[in-house]
Symmetry: C2
Subunit: 207 residues, 2 copies
């Protein structure tokens, strides 16, 4: 279950709660929606089942969301923000450019192990909420690109890095998560992140 993180996406629809109690209720509804859609998918998921999981009254749902579509869109924005927040926390302790990428990937793999539903939900958003799907990846790629530019500026990374490298790193991370955090969780995120980090630091050619 989710619920450990602050983010409640403010851009993804849903009325913004004004009180701490309202924030907690919205958080509960979003976590319940993650469990519901992660298990049943969008079409078979239902608002009544979400409120049951959240332990709230059906009317409460409509205080925050107008429809199943709306909570799904809010959830995609929320998960996307949680991924970003988790990376930001992990990065805070790192100063070297390559260590930042390693820390971001390890944090993502931990997150994906704990919240395996994120893959199904983000992947299904391609069909249910195409705008949210695209926004998630564009936002994530631009965060990576900003880090690469920082690394180039500090002289640690090559000067010619751009969008292609940012999308390549994001794709790497997404598929490593699918393979090693969702389809198998016996792998240590740190080991996978170390392999990816070596690929980024020196490539795969033999020296």
């Amino acid at each position: 279950m989710a619920g450990n993180f602050e983010p409640i996406a403010s851009t993804a629809g849903g009325k913004q709660p004004r009180t701490e109690r309202g924030r907690k209720t919205m958080r509960k509804l979003l976590d319940a929606a993650a469990a519901e859609f992660g298990e049943k998918g969008f079409h078979d998921g239902s608002i009544s089942s979400i409120t049951r999981r959240a332990g709230t009254a059906l009317g409460t749902f409509y205080t925050y969301f107008d429809s199943k579509d709306e909570i799904f869109r809010a959830l995609v924005g929320d998960l996307s923000a949680q991924v970003g927040a988790r990376a930001a926390v992990a990065l805070a302790g790192e100063t070297a450019a390559l260590e930042k990428e390693r820390a971001a990937l390890a944090a993502f793999l931990h997150f994906a192990q704990e919240h395996q539903e994120i893959y199904r939900i983000i992947d299904e958003s391609e069909f249910v909420d195409p705008k949210g799907f695209r926004q998630h990846y564009e936002t994530t790629a631009s965060r990576i690109l900003a880090r690469l530019r920082q690394g180039s500026a500090s002289g640690e990374l090559r000067d010619d890095l751009g969008e292609a490298e940012a999308w390549a790193i994001m794709g790497m991370n997404v598929f490593l998560g699918l393979r090693f955090a969702v389809w198998s969780d016996g792998d240590k995120p740190e080991d996978i992140a170390a392999a990816a980090s070596r690929l980024l630091s020196e490539g795969i050619a033999k020296k």
Copy 2:
């Protein structure tokens, strides 16, 4: 439109045609299904619209497939095989390990530019045909891994490459295709493949 390639997946359901004419009809139906599902998605796609696109009688459909589900599964297997066949053709001209990866990616980007529907179909298979979805990526990753092992054996690539690197490369390729072949087609596959190739050959660190 597809239709330039041999593969008709024999493992993905659908009756195997015995004659060349039957093979052509099946190919037409699969190409029509790619256009139909790529445009409308699985749920809104229909058998009658597929046969209309293929220019065949409705009854002909049932000579080859039992249902909409069955042709969708066959299509996923077929697209997966087409991706593999296209890579194999591109690789045939290369001998150096890193050039093989570059050629495979460039070929995939060309394929994705010409067949943008492949993303929607493969992505939707996660929900409509989870087994086919997983098989596509596992097969693709194991092809990459086999190439990496060859490169290690020939002394061109590091000796410690494994599944993590294979999945990392596949993820890189999938997301570069999404960004530069589907969401934008103004980019030259060769330029994107060159950037990815440099990442693989030397990493992103400044020398």
